[in-house]
């Protein structure tokens, strides 16, 4: 079967491109059921982007949920082996949209790399994140941050205040950040420096070296420098930036985290990172890193309104020889035209040519 790309929607093209990309790098597809026991989400509520979950009772009375998230299910089912497991998925998830306060079906594709991770694994996932964005558009930016570094800087601060500071960091809101720190007698200088520092993989090493981090930040900085050195050789390197205003939940994410943006799409469409803390919360001893690409925004992106609903509108009568009508349609379509056969002109239809069957 030959597929013509003109009949494929943007998100379908992207799905195929991503599937090819992940398969080429040795990731196996992980196909899931749409349902999961609700219990799994109750235990890890904060990991979910939205609190609300669609629930229903199974035939044997168990409380089930329509998946709001794929990562938790993959971790739950992951075996603890010596090797690193590489998996990708393409699933629909069900979440409450903040703007409409109603449930929305979101198409998501992504990958997870689970096991005893080494630096290569981390760099590979970052590379695949960049390549995933590139498959959608050349005008992308991948922002990399490090939750370990942010955690180390905020070490020792009261939980509620830490949460508020994290919020300000994600908004690049240094004015409120400084005001809060002053009120709470916290030295804000390093936090503010961290929010303001950004740059390419070549620049970031020097820029970070200029900030007087404490001893507890050493490991994180070392990891950032190692990853930065390695990804410098990537062809997509000029579109990868380090930006420490990218934050994920500190209770789940521990290392490198990242977010991807496409020019023309108002929100981030790729999000991921290393979530060893979630793994240990779920009783797994290994590490894990992964990301998801949200495909629902692509519908609006590169939207071309078709000029015509059909190339040829073929009008026929009931009294015509229908086998001949069918044959004509077949001939016209095989010549590459889109044909709509009707007995009368549908209201509001735009067609290129009108043919009457004779």
């Amino acid at each position: 079967m030959e597929l013509k790309s003109e009949y494929m929607r943007t998100e379908e093209k992207v799905i195929f491109a991503l599937r090819e990309l992940y398969s080429k790098y040795g990731y196996a597809q992980f196909k899931m059921s749409k349902f999961e026991e609700y219990d799994l989400y109750v235990k890890n509520k904060d990991f979910l982007v939205s609190d609300s979950v669609i629930t229903f009772n199974d035939t044997n009375g168990r409380l089930m949920a329509l998946k709001p998230d794929v990562t938790l299910s993959i971790i739950k089912n992951s075996a603890e082996t010596e090797n690193v497991q590489k998996l990708y998925y393409n699933e629909n998830v069900y979440r409450v949209s903040k703007n409409t306060h109603s449930f929305k079906e979101i198409m998501q594709t992504g990958l997870e790399c689970i096991g005893s991770l080494d630096t290569y694994n981390i760099c590979e996932v970052v590379t695949l994140a960049a390549k995933s964005l590139c498959a959608i558009s050349e005008n992308f930016v991948l922002d990399i941050s490090h939750m370990g570094l942010i955690s180390s800087v905020l070490d020792g601060i009261d939980v509620d205040i830490k949460k508020q500071i994290l919020q300000y960091i994600s908004e690049k809101n240094t004015h409120d950040l400084v005001a809060l720190c002053e009120k709470e007698n916290i030295d804000s200088s390093i936090i503010v420096a961290l929010v303001n520092v950004s740059g390419t993989s070549e620049e970031i090493k020097q820029k970070l070296a200029a900030i007087p981090f404490g001893e507890n930040s050493k490991d994180a900085i070392e990891e950032i420098n190692t990853v930065a050195d390695i990804i410098t050789s990537l062809p997509e390197n000029n579109k990868i930036h380090f930006d420490f205003s990218i934050v994920n939940d500190m209770n789940y994410y521990s290392g490198i985290v990242f977010k991807g943006y496409i020019e023309g799409i108002p929100t981030g469409i790729l999000s991921g990172g290393r979530y060893d803390l979630l793994m240990s919360k779920m009783g797994k001893k290994t590490g894990a890193i992964g990301f998801a690409v949200y495909l629902d925004f692509l519908e609006r992106f590169m939207e071309e309104t078709k000029e015509y609903d059909t190339d040829i509108l073929l009008l026929y009568n009931d009294t015509d020889r229908l086998s001949e009508v069918l044959k004509t349609v077949d001939t016209l379509t095989s010549q590459g035209s889109r044909v709509l056969a009707e007995t009368s002109v549908p209201e509001g239809l735009k067609y290129k040519t009108l043919l009457r069957f004779e």
Partner: protein, 212 residues
Amino acid sequence: MDNYINIALPKGRLGEKVYDMFERAGYPCPSIKENNRKLIFENPEKQVRYFWVKPSDVAIYVERGAADIGVAGKDILLEYEPDIYELLDLDLGKCRMAVAAKESFRDNTDKTLRVATKFVNITKKYYAGKSRDIDVVKLNGSIEIAPILGLSDVIVDIVETGTTLKENNLKVFETIVPISARLIANKSSYKFKADKITNIRAKLSEQVIKND
């Protein structure tokens, strides 16, 4: 896609003040001063496009990318919680979010507190932080009237000078948070128009310091 920087300004006196700051920052658009009913103004030379929107809608325009940057009150940002960058406190339109009530009011913690407000989210969060059970009465205007008519015990609203409160025999009991106008940016636009946006931020920031 054009390279214009799209700026959403809040309609009204504050918006005009803010526009003047943008003009001094090197992004003028003279047609905006013409007295007409147009809502969108462009300056092709500076590649800048301004539009006037309802103040409470600025955050939505920016979050959804119809505007790259905009100026919104902190009250709107706290209420709506948009996913945006908040780049600068412009130190304009200063006021505070406060709890006010009749002068004779005394808080009874043995009862559910009835609170009238336009800012439901801010109110809920504030009282949740105090573990206080409240009954929110959402109103869209003339909030001051609620305690007088017995519709609510207290109100949560923006207080600028306190004149309206005083004239209605109300007084401020607690300040929740100080409010002022903030420069906000769409997160995705910030990545792709970084030079322009950081330049605007810097130029506006210089003017804020001068105001002090």
